[in-house]
């Protein structure tokens, strides 16, 4: 009897332990599903170059926005709302971007748009979106005029209330590069080339102004045709100019071959560019001679931010074929800013979207503030990101390596 009691007590203890174990363990299933179960569908539009030379960056943008909507749906982040994306290909062309803006405006379910990549495309879309009171958040546009007006250097004036961006502007990026090239890299004679586009020409101008102020000499300037891949004539001019560095305002499809041809012409000098050349594809196109070339890009390296680890892991888990590239973190944050704004609008309206949801989302966006992939995400009175970080990278061992990071706190 005594033994039976002992056995019974032991069994009870073991059973109790197992019960307690079950109570104490965390539920790893999380709940929810990728498809979401909301009653209302909210579409986040995406506009980026999904085909053509710049598609590596564009597909990274699209996938990152897609990931943000999946996470929001899985977490049921906005009660009663399921997010979807509608991604349109602008091919890097302003006219196509404008047509896409019109298409997105026509879809009443679209309450926000992430994109575009190119400043020239962004410029063509702003008015269309603003007229429809549809919020647009670009993860990559860096031309200062988009938020601060065409006379930004003298007097800042916000042209469109509905336009925001998570990327830092070229008003900082160009001078940041000039400071690095002149002071740290000790280069004093620059040959400046641009592709005549809004982004490229603007960036080259802000670089040049600061380089001159620091005492640097501009020994030559040229414009290239972005449709061409033969830059041998420009390369020869660079060789003959005596420049010790080249600054290129433009994007990697041209920058890669340009760097290669400059070295082939006999000028063994680094090519420096902005975020438009910060892509793995630049390294492929420039070849081995591209080692030592430099790029500035907006923000801190995504991999260095603890806040980005989850993004990187989730991106991998989704199995996207393309890399998130330079703007993945900024695209995710741009989409999440829209999700936050939608959440605020829904919660302020008893859990439902109001009739004037688009206008309300524009208003809510101005006050959005959250810890995103790239750090604190919020916007200043011009719609610019308040988080203004930049990093210099160099091509080393067939990859981009971090050289120096800076933060604008002025």
């Amino acid at each position: 009897m005594r033994q039976r009691s002992l056995i019974a007590i032991t069994a009870a203890l073991a059973a109790g332990a197992l019960t307690l174990t079950a109570c104490g363990s965390r539920d790893d299933n999380g709940g929810g599903s990728d498809s979401g179960n909301g009653d209302t569908t909210v579409v986040i539009g995406v506009d980026a170059p999904l085909t053509g030379d710049l598609s590596a960056l564009g597909l990274g943008i699209k996938n990152s926005v897609d990931l943000a909507t999946k996470i929001a749906n899985k977490e049921k982040y906005v009660e009663g709302v399921t997010f979807k994306i509608e991604a349109l290909d602008d091919q890097g062309q302003a006219s196509v971007g404008q047509q896409n803006a019109t298409k997105l405006v026509a879809n009443k379910d679209v309450l926000g748009v992430v994109g575009p990549l190119n400043s020239s495309v962004g410029e063509s879309m702003q008015k269309v979106f603003d007229t429809a009171k549809l919020v647009e958040v670009s993860p990559a546009n860096t031309n200062p005029a988009l938020t601060q007006g065409v006379n930004w250097a003298k007097e800042k004036e916000r042209p469109y209330k509905s336009y925001f961006r998570t990327a830092t502007t070229d008003a900082i990026q160009g001078p940041f590069a000039a400071q690095y090239v002149f002071n740290d890299a000790k280069k004093k004679k620059v040959f400046v080339i641009d592709d005549k586009k809004t982004y490229g020409a603007g960036l080259a101008a802000t670089f040049t102004a600061e380089f001159k102020k620091l005492g640097g000499q501009v020994v030559g300037t040229e414009h290239i045709n972005p449709e061409s891949k033969d830059f041998s004539a420009v390369a020869t001019k660079v060789k003959n100019s005596g420049a010790d560095v080249v600054y290129y305002g433009g994007e990697y499809p041209q920058a890669g071959p340009l760097s290669k041809q400059i070295k082939e012409a006999g000028a063994k000098i680094p090519l420096v560019g902005g975020d438009g050349i910060y892509s793995a594809d630049f390294i492929k196109l420039a070849g081995a001679a591209g080692t030592g070339d430099l790029a500035t890009s907006v923000g801190a390296p995504v991999e260095s931010l603890p806040s980005a680890k989850e993004f990187v892991a989730n991106y991998k888990a989704e199995g996207y074929k393309e890399a998130y590239e330079a703007y993945g973190g900024y695209s995710y944050d741009s989409a999440w800013a829209i999700i936050e704004a939608v959440k605020k609008v829904v919660e302020d309206n008893d859990g439902k979207l109001p009739d004037d949801a688009r206008a309300k989302v524009v208003d809510a966006m101005q006050d959005v503030s959250f810890d995103g992939v790239t750090g604190k995400v919020s916007f200043d009175e011009f719609g610019d990101a308040t988080n203004k970080q930049l990093t210099v990278y160099t091509v080393k061992g067939g990859d981009w390596a971090t050289v120096k990071s800076g933060t604008f706190t002025g």
């Binding site: 056995i7 332990a17 400071q179 102020k213 120096k404 933060t407």
Partner: protein, 169 residues
């Protein structure tokens, strides 16, 4: 089975069961969430330009002083190991001297004394001049640049013009 053996078997079973239950309880005990990973010091620290003090350098060495404020986020104390700038022709010291500690959630004013050694190598009109700092927290030691903005740039240009305007080369 003899009674003695039955007792021994039961005791052994009891001991094993208690040990197993204890091990299970230990292994599956509720654990507190791990603290969030500390960020790199540049992600938790900012520097703000406050003001410039230009000195009459007609009879003294060409130097001037500006004051910045280091701000650390809460729960993220940081040590400023060095303050420098990348321009040839200028050297910096600070008061208080580095290394200096900024408490988590706190701020500290730092006076930066700039000595001009060669006016021909100073940025007399820089648009976005840097201050380079080396920071350390429990996560990492990190070199980072802070771009203090347009007002700092203007004041720096003016201070350099005064410092280099008295025939000093």
């Amino acid at each position: 089975m003899p009674r003695r053996h039955r007792r021994a078997t039961a005791a052994a079973f009891l001991a094993v069961a208690v040990l197993a239950a204890g091990a299970l309880l230990y292994l599956t005990r509720p654990r507190p969430e791990p603290p969030p990973e500390l960020r790199f010091p540049s992600q938790t620290t900012s520097f703000r330009y406050l003001y410039m003090q230009v000195r009459d350098t007609r009879t003294t060495a060409p130097e001037f002083e500006f004051t910045i404020q280091a701000l650390a986020e809460s729960d993220a104390p940081v040590t400023v190991l060095s303050i420098s700038q990348p321009y040839a022709g200028l050297s910096l010291t600070s008061r208080p001297a580095t290394p200096l500690r900024v408490k988590g959630g706190g701020s500290r004013k730092i006076a930066v004394i700039v000595r001009v050694s060669e006016c021909g190598k100073v940025p007399r009109n820089a648009g976005l001049p840097f201050v380079d700092v080396t920071l350390r927290n429990t996560r990492a030691k990190e070199a980072h640049s802070y771009i203090l903005g347009a007002r700092y740039a203007r004041d720096l240009s003016m201070a350099l013009k005064v410092a280099c305007g008295n025939g000093f080369r």
